[in-house]
Symmetry: D2
Subunit: 368 residues, 4 copies
């Protein structure tokens, strides 16, 4: 049923609540023989870690990941890999009021509708903290991809934050890691974004964000039509991230505005005997299968619902109330969604690489 | 693995190629005791059927569905329901040239990359004809929903076709079935769309489309966080439809532009003891679980790649060629995607209704 | 959920009732490029077909299988293969009495308990006729195995029928196809079995059977511990066949009687650089993974419940009745279970071959 | 793919190696609202724990289970439950010789064949220690069953150990917990078993065992034909336990010896309006669905392969060697398989209870 599991052959089950003893990911299906240690995973977790700058929640979690199984002498054995992150910053506080109230825009009310009870501490299972486990699992996927698809590069970046949008004409791949928003833009633009977000925070408000994740040098032929299509699985992967409300492949929603002459990526023969395309409206996927072009996924994250501005709501007993969410919350959760989106991309591509091997005989199609 | 299967408990496996002897859907997990006959399914297939007007392909398929198993005396028995649609309009023609050429924007090249061979007749498995099986399966889901969620109403409509977009201030639910585009607008606007599409066709071109599907009176509490979320499954369902490039829930991609104060749907207690919301930015889903509001999904369909304007491409041997796709093709496949989107919505909601029962004890949360 | 589906990557969904219009199997995950036509499947169906001699039901079904999808020009394309067998011998008769009565030893009462209704015609879905679809699917698996594991040979035979048991000292592999019981014994023994079964039939009785299926020259390394073990999947495969009540691997239940010194198969290095074993108590599987020895599975089939001797039972309304099952029934369904067991073995081994590719990197362990 | 996962809706993924930092089970799909604490799980783990008497390995593990997620204030929330058992008794020793040698009858050689490498410490993932995680998960299932099927009672006991077999005429349900073999027999017989096993140990040998697990007062109607049958899932569950070589339902393999008149359980109407049966050859399951009778499963465990008597084998480099397995090993692993079999039965029954709810509408069949 896979209700807390993602993937076909590379299967990630995340578990844990925001303020329980620990959370983590059970990773099944990593190939044997992959070099893997905790430091490699920690690298990606540190990228997602809160409290790094004033734009993300000030919760100070070291987010230290431990590998409890599935490796021997620093190499994967093919058995399940258990990744555990202990929750060390569980502030003891009184949750009795929060437990009685539904915060607008949160999953409080729907978890209550569904389960009849919920863990109110920090949002419980519905907390964005669950994505730490995804990032850890994504680190395992990246480690496996190192040998299975050595040329592959996966990178995420913000393309929009409220009124701020990137200028694609000034796209700078190398700038992405040099600013706190992971935008592919120079420092002046990053400064403008910083100023904008500062304003949002001062207004006790929050703002949405749009993230693009690209896989460069991805193999062609990945995807299992028609319900395990590569784009289908990417859409599911991204939509399963907290607060995501939309997913696009290539042109995305704008495809509805295009004409056929504009949209079709024409095909040529490249010098290396591989097909090349005149453009990439398709986002690297045709018929649910990768073309060998860049795989381009975009998703939108809604503004953080936890804001300091009062919102009207009700209590469990149906009585009206007002909610002001105090505490440590990101004014734009979209920022920290960047490494999460990368992790999901890594998991999906590894999964489909393995799946492709399982579906095929030795050879696949050759062109030219 | 579910590579040609969709769903958790209500599982739909589609099979068949565009020009093979038949295609269909194996539907497993329909509850027993549901009244079902071929006429009920035919109703929905007729809505999707090509050749109904000049805006859809002129292929004349009666698309007659047969129920081969799973019912007895007009009632489902709980066993797999096999739905078969015979392909009666398989024009015998020479596919040798098509088999050697990759049509830009089609899955020809990726199926070849993946499998090393493909069925070239009418696109084989990658043809939009596969969606007929989805519509038939959706008919089964609708039949089951009649008793399990009697108030539920699922309706799709176009919201955009190239430059034409609906006016939400003039939204007319009752007009949807009265025009060939299923737009919620009056006849003058439908006429304008018709004229626009006529122009596209004359220019030997095609155009994309945007479809919105709404489930009204859907139960709250549906969705299985965190990887079987209702929105995750809806995103996968819609993205798995041919030519879909983007999926949105509620505000969708526009959420990236909003501030927290704008986006949060405030909560009140309704007169009937159920919560009501001041707005529905969330599209009826919070934390992956339905709120009881309208469930709103939108998706974009790219313009038909099969156009009469020549496009540059290559052959299997790598030599350059030009492709003009003659034959019967919709200038806007988005139109026929409307009943397909409805069918997927019906399948997902039924699946989650059953899943919810399987996950729960007797009672769920009460408010007030 | 896979409730009517079997397999991980090679997935077989059977559908259909004994007396509906048709039954069949949806086969997903067959690799592309496999030579496959209806004649190849018919070969195995003819082996299972009833009415061939007086020891099997006299129902005269041609059991003609059609391939409706998944092949092009006689070769698999990697898309779902739909196999359909039309039910041509649906005798029109009055099922109203059968529909009201529970036949002892049949699934009548449990289908009623579970579903609240059932298809009473010939046992509906619970009929042994469902196994025809398995045999057809097994034929697809065999076709794929021809190239993936060319040396592999799968063979089933009876080892017991009531009081008759084979003499393992006179085991004759080549005799299996030369007698109606598929016993590995000479014609005199086959004649004795024939005489024994004739006596059972005259007494208006039936008898159980034990079947052994062996895969010779199976690759080592197949199996996905710890819940997708090769023996786990074989046990499930065999137990899912109608009327099966026990499954054994290698020593099977007798392992409970053995001491460690007796049971351990000692290991040596063979001349071809592959390990050889002093014995095969393990049945070719250690820790859920194949050793490269013969894979040996045994299962027991209960005596046909449909007998001409009256048995006491009740009606749906709870009133007592007596049941005599007239009609065409095998005195020993175990005989026809032989090709079914072979088919399940073929499906499981192909599935695990594909799975192994999906789990692994390029190389696996070498010894010596 | 579920390669380390078991179950449809109640899904148990075990993870961990014998001598890694920890092992455990990720339990997804437990209904919300179930009272659960660590003490409840510890109760069952203590039953399986080694070192309790001289018949089980002297490894002294407290096997302390921790619940890391999925509960709040002592009640399940419907989210994944992570159960962790830390390995505290990891004796540091030199595994370099063991790592180079294949112990006969162990999974050493097949893990090497499959994965090309293995964790040699205590058998790694293939150790019987993995079953501790199953027992913990079974404790969760039992907790959920307390409210969902209050009358249900699950009990396992040995029926054979080498030459010793129970006398069914002296079957004493109440004696099961009063002896170290969990045999349903009085103290004299238990003493005889003890003496027998003492002899086996002195001979530096081991012996197999047969375990029967019975579910009394199980609901009728459980099972999802035809590949999620209750007996299919029970067979898979038991066969997946280490060292199990055979599984039987009801009559089991002996069904091959019976005639139809002997085997059919006749049906009567009970005083309470439920059907009763004259006998239970079927083991409580017909057509893969429970009848409401006792569900009876039996399985055989091979003798421990780790014995002090030398066995011939080879090293990874192919050279011959002799293996004597020193260390702490049970002379009959079948004894500790009793609580494991109970745990698997609990998991399968809970899973099918939930599944049944998911498959059905409100009502099921009534008789009388």
């Amino acid at each position: 049923m896979s209700l807390n599991t993602f993937g076909h052959l590379f299967r990630v089950t995340t578990w844990g609540e925001s303020h329980g003893p620990a959370l983590g990911a059970t990773v099944d299906g990593c190939p044997p023989g992959v070099t893997l240690d905790e430091g490699m995973l920690q690298h990606w977790l540190d990228k997602r870690r809160p409290g790094q700058n004033k734009h993300t929640t000030q919760r100070q979690e070291p987010d230290r990941v431990r590998i409890l199984s599935g490796t021997y002498e620093g190499v994967t054995t093919g058995t399940p890999i258990q990744l555990m992150i202990e929750n060390t910053d569980q502030r003891s506080k009184d949750y009795s009021e929060i437990a009685q109230t539904f915060r607008p825009g949160h999953a409080d009310i729907t978890y209550h509708m569904k389960y009849g009870l919920r863990d109110p501490r920090g949002g419980g299972r519905s907390s964005a903290r669950e994505t730490a486990a995804r990032v850890a699992a994504g680190g395992v996927a990246r480690a496996a991809l190192t040998s299975l698809a050595p040329a592959l590069e996966i990178k995420g970046y913000m393309t929009r934050m409220g009124e701020m949008a990137i200028d694609r004409n000034a796209f700078d791949w190398d700038a992405i890691d040099a600013n706190p928003f992971w935008i592919p833009q120079g420092p002046e633009i990053a400064a403008a974004w910083e100023s904008y977000l500062g304003g949002i925070r001062k207004e006790r408000n929050s703002v949405g964000g749009e993230i693009e994740v690209v896989a460069r040098h991805a193999p062609g032929g990945l995807g299992a039509p028609v319900y395990g299509k590569l784009d289908t699985d990417l859409a599911a992967a991204m939509m399963s991230i907290n607060a995501v409300k939309g997913v696009e492949i290539g042109e995305g929603m704008a495809a509805a505005r295009l004409q056929g002459t504009e949209n079709a990526d024409e095909i040529f023969m490249g010098n290396d005997g591989q097909p090349v395309f005149s453009s990439n409206h398709a986002g690297g996927i045709l018929g649910g299968i990768s073309t060998g072009q860049d795989i381009v996924v975009r998703f939108a994250v809604k503004p953080t619902s936890s804001i300091l501005t009062p919102r009207r709501s009700i209590r469990i007993d149906g009585t009206p109330t007002e909610v002001v969410t105090k505490g440590r919350h990101d004014p734009c959760v979209g920022i920290r969604a960047v490494p999460v989106g990368e992790a999901m991309m890594a998991c999906v591509i590894l999964d489909h690489l393995l799946l492709h091997r399982g579906q095929m005989g030795e050879t696949r199609g050759r062109i030219g």
